[in-house]
């Protein structure tokens, strides 16, 4: 074409004009720590595995998840999911049902028979693990993954520890538990059941162990001094729950009084309900002060468990107990009122917490104890080099997720210790706060409600109360994730740049800013849904 001078121009020639020189601030892609990840006691990369689940690649999601926690099917049932409490979506509509998706992944893995890879190389080191509960089995898994030989000594006849003896079947079906335990064993972890370690140092020496991880849990039920008649049947909760696993079910009678306000109290009451009893929980404070998880309290109430608030047991008779009414003082502590009431009771189950059996540590030098548990340092190591400890036997919140987290953490440090190095956790990104999100971009979508077993069956059977998600709603739920603080390739920055100064690098590769043309308007940062772009002043 014979183009007239100046009036007619070749297309796209403005590339010669580098508008990047207009910029006083530059956009920079960042990664932030999602609040769910931050809140997870097991240190799961929740956002990371949800990312795969969103794509429908459940195996990838499961494998990503199990890098941190080998028990998603268990965790998806018994975890009290502080991740969901922390979830930013909770401030938008409802938190993402992380726990439900986790369970879906765990169940899917069992259904499909996904297995953990065996280590490619063996280190030749041998680690003793005492206790096959959540912390112990978690540590076993992680250490085995690192190529160490692992032998677990379990005092009881079955694997799982508190997962089996503390959690009723209706919350955690045993086939699920067994499947996830089995999978760890299949990695080549050696297990010795019914093997109570009485003397740690001796056992280590005999077995030529290079290190030990202790996770014996807290199984000794606390007693309260209740004046009791001779025939009054007073049991402890842990024993009751444990005996549910055996052949001989505990004899609780019709009218069962459970004393305490923790999750164990609820578990026992609900168990009793399923055995045909009419349980009543006696708790000295109010519902909002109750340490038990509220959802469980709610479920218990639905199932017909009675709760006597602001009451303490003063006396236990042959077929009745006497309770005293309490009031809360200004600081929230219960104070006696002198008012008494009599309740019929065939048995009284005490659920007042558990103590640790520290007998195996007798004679181990260097240890320190506090409040009946072993002190460990930041690397989960006790005062005795090479002896690490975790779970309920160290100062901590006592729940299964914490135990699993301890197992992972201890395994990392044990691994480093065995290699003569120190494990240094990578620095955490700053938190991805809700304020950094541009929530406009997230469609309104309430949390998926999981199916719940009908009430008649909940009152009479040990069938699992909470159902799982099916694939469709698991996907839906996964996709409710906001991906707080980390680019999920929504293409917004790429789209909203008026200067086409964002380069899309392709699937999984994210984006780059083309600073030749970026004028620094800040639209990409403002319109980034997940707050993964910072505007940084140009050097003046």
């Amino acid at each position: 074409m014979d183009k007239p001078f100046a009036i007619t121009l070749d297309p796209g020639s403005s590339l010669a004009n580098r508008t990047g020189s207009w910029r006083t601030e530059r956009p920079v892609y960042v990664d932030r720590l999602p609040p769910c990840n931050n809140a997870c006691p097991a240190g799961e990369d929740i956002q990371g595995w949800l990312y795969h689940a969103e794509s429908g690649d459940y195996e990838a999601a499961w494998r990503h998840l199990t890098r941190d926690n080998p028990f998603p099917a268990i965790m998806g049932r018994v975890c009290y999911h502080s991740c969901e409490t922390a979830c930013n979506r909770g401030r938008l509509d409802e938190a993402v049902g992380i726990n439900a998706v986790e369970r879906f992944l765990g169940d899917e893995a069992i259904r499909r028979g996904w297995q953990f890879a065996k280590p490619e190389t063996e280190t030749g080191k041998h680690v003793l693990i005492v206790g096959a509960g959540p912390a112990g089995m978690s540590a076993a898994y992680h250490l085995r993954r690192s190529g160490h030989r692992v032998t677990v000594h379990e005092a009881g006849p079955l694997l799982g520890g508190m997962m089996r003896f503390g959690i009723p079947k209706y919350r955690l079906p045993r086939d699920v538990l067994d499947a996830e335990m089995r999978r760890v064993i299949d990695m080549g972890v050696e297990v010795v059941l019914n093997s109570k370690v009485g003397n740690l140092l001796a056992t280590m020496q005999d077995g030529r162990f290079d290190a030990a991880f202790l996770a014996v849990g807290a199984h000794i039920g606390k007693r309260a001094s209740i004046p009791a008649g001779t025939v009054a049947r007073i049991l402890d909760a842990v024993s009751v729950l444990r005996s549910m696993e055996g052949e001989e079910k505990p004899l609780l009678g019709r009218r069962v009084v459970v004393y305490g306000g923790g999750n164990t109290a609820i578990d026992v009451a609900r168990t009793a309900r399923r055995m045909g009893a009419e349980p009543i929980i006696v708790y000295r404070r109010t519902r909002d002060k109750m340490p038990a998880h509220d959802l469980e309290v709610e479920e218990a109430l639905q199932e017909g468990v009675m709760i006597k608030w602001l009451s303490t047991i003063r006396q236990a008779g042959e077929s009745s107990i006497t309770v005293e009414k309490m009031v809360l003082d200004e600081s929230g502590f219960p104070q006696p009122t002198g008012e008494f009431e009599t309740l019929e009771a065939d048995s009284v189950v005490l659920a007042l917490g558990q103590d640790v059996d520290l007998g195996l540590l007798d004679g181990v030098p260097g240890l320190e104890f506090v409040d009946g548990v072993v002190k460990v340092d930041g690397q989960m190591m006790t005062g005795h080099p090479g002896v690490f400890a975790g779970g309920d036997m160290v100062p901590t919140d006592r729940n299964i997720t914490v135990g699993v987290g301890h197992g992972k953490k201890a395994a990392r440090h044990i691994d480093a210790w065995l290699r003569g190095t120190t494990y240094v956790a990578p620095p955490k990104h700053p938190l991805a706060t809700f304020e950094r999100l541009n929530t406009w971009y997230y469609s309104d979508a309430p949390q998926t409600v999981r199916p719940v077993l009908d009430i008649i069956r909940r009152q009479s059977t040990f069938e699992e109360v909470q159902g799982g998600l099916d694939e469709t709603n698991a996907l839906f739920e996964a996709r409710r994730c906001l991906s707080c603080g980390n680019c999920f390739e929504c293409d917004n920055c790429y789209g909203v740049c008026p200067d086409n100064a964002v380069i899309k690098l392709g699937p999984g590769q994210r984006f780059e800013i083309n600073y030749d043309y970026c004028k620094g308007c800040g639209l990409c940062a403002a319109e980034c849904p997940c707050g993964a772009i910072d505007m940084v002043p140009e050097d003046g």
């Binding site: 100046a6 121009l9 070749d10 297309p11 796209g12 020639s13 403005s14 590339l15 010669a16 004009n17 580098r18 508008t19 207009w22 969103e54 794509s55 406009w440 971009y441 997230y442 469609s443 309104d444 979508a445 839906f476 996709r479 409710r480 994730c481 906001l482 991906s483 999920f488 390739e489 929504c490 293409d491 917004n492 790429y494 789209g495 909203v496 740049c497 008026p498 200067d499 086409n500 100064a501 899309k504 392709g506 699937p507 999984g508 083309n514 030749d516 043309y517 004028k519 620094g520 308007c521 800040g522 639209l523 940062a525 403002a526 319109e527 849904p529 505007m535």
Partner: protein, 337 residues
């Protein structure tokens, strides 16, 4: 509305793209292969809504026509910032003639292309004309109306930023009431642009009974692209009126361009709808209806309404106008009401 937005709870409904969507569900802007009809290096202000809107719309039209398209541009910011000799940002066949004649020039282009097609010299090539609100609702209005009533095969896009921004922010017939411009200063007893003036050209376009009229904002890309795509399925005169905030003229932060456009829609200040042959066929519903203050406050052109003594009466009148839009264009989901 026949437009079924992609229901995708994490992101897909509103974001530009998403890795999880099937390629055919993704927006044109999400594709690495997008045309970038308006290329980098243009001289639009930081955060320019018009530059963004133009690329959105023209890229979508290019996609819809398989790149068989010619664009006619009225004088205005878009024209000036995109084609200062010796550089042009356009990567398409593009012509600028005058301020007030883009619709007519487009008619001529369409006529020429039709004749060439009939002569077998050319396949089907479509025509898009575009201009700002000054070029469309004021000086070019006669030509626009003529193009409409003849039902010429032209898709006209108006980028509405509510004033003559190219010449230094003067009032146009699309300037909203109470807005401060260089010719409606925020002084005197009734500061800013007068109430009861101005016109809403989409409604006038509808009165021409042309095949398709729609409004959109630069904040809702998917809706915008859908409307462009839809428009290109019709023959005859079509009109798309896109709200494109102007950081300079509106006195807003450059990063807030899309936020303000969103607020215009969510407050009902700017109704987003579509119409066929003069009849309203669908409205983009407000997600979370907001008071007009939310829209007004981030803009310095309305700052005089929020001084030490807020102009409650003016704000109430603006709210009433928004309410009227909500009723008239059915901007709230009936189920939600």
């Amino acid at each position: 509305m026949s437009f079924q937005p992609v229901k995708f709870y994490q992101t897909g409904t509103f974001t530009v793209g998403n890795r999880l969507l099937a390629p055919e569900q993704r927006s044109v802007q999400a594709a690495t292969s997008r045309r970038n009809s308006l290329n980098s290096g243009h001289r639009a202000c930081q955060g320019c809504g018009e530059a963004l809107g133009a690329r959105y719309a023209i890229d979508a039209a290019m996609e819809a026509t398989g790149n068989r398209m010619v664009v006619v541009n009225a004088t205005g910011c878009l024209e000036v910032f995109s084609t200062p000799y010796p550089e042009t940002s356009w990567q398409i066949p593009w012509i600028h003639s005058l301020f007030g004649n883009a619709p007519a020039v487009a008619t001529g282009v369409a006529a020429a292309l039709k004749v060439k097609r009939l002569k077998g010299l050319l396949g089907d090539v479509r025509v898009v004309a575009q201009g700002g609100d000054g070029g469309t609702t004021d000086i070019g209005f006669g030509c626009l109306s003529g193009m409409f009533e003849r039902n010429d095969d032209v898709f006209y896009i108006c980028y509405d930023n509510g004033g003559y921004m190219n010449t230094g922010v003067q009032r146009s017939s699309a300037t909203p009431p109470a807005a401060r411009t260089a010719t409606t200063e925020a002084v005197g007893p009734t500061p800013g642009h007068a109430f009861g003036q101005g016109k809403f050209v989409p409604a006038i376009a509808m009165a021409h009974d042309i095949p398709y009229v729609a409004t959109a904002t630069v904040a809702d890309l998917r809706d915008l692209e859908y409307k462009v795509r839809k428009a290109m399925t019709f023959r005859g005169a079509r009109y798309l009126h896109i709200l494109v905030p102007c950081p300079l003229g509106w006195g807003a932060a450059s990063k807030d361009t899309l936020r303000i456009a969103r607020l215009a829609k969510e407050t009902g200040v700017f109704p987003v709808f579509e119409a066929e042959s003069g009849e309203l066929t669908g409205s983009s519903k407000i997600r979370h209806v907001l008071p007009v203050e939310e829209y007004l406050r981030p803009q310095k052109r309305f700052a005089h309404l929020f001084g030490p003594k807020p102009d409650v009466a003016a704000i109430a009148r603006l709210q009433a106008l928004a309410n009227r839009n909500i009723r008239k264009y059915r901007l709230l989901d009936e189920e939600a009401l």
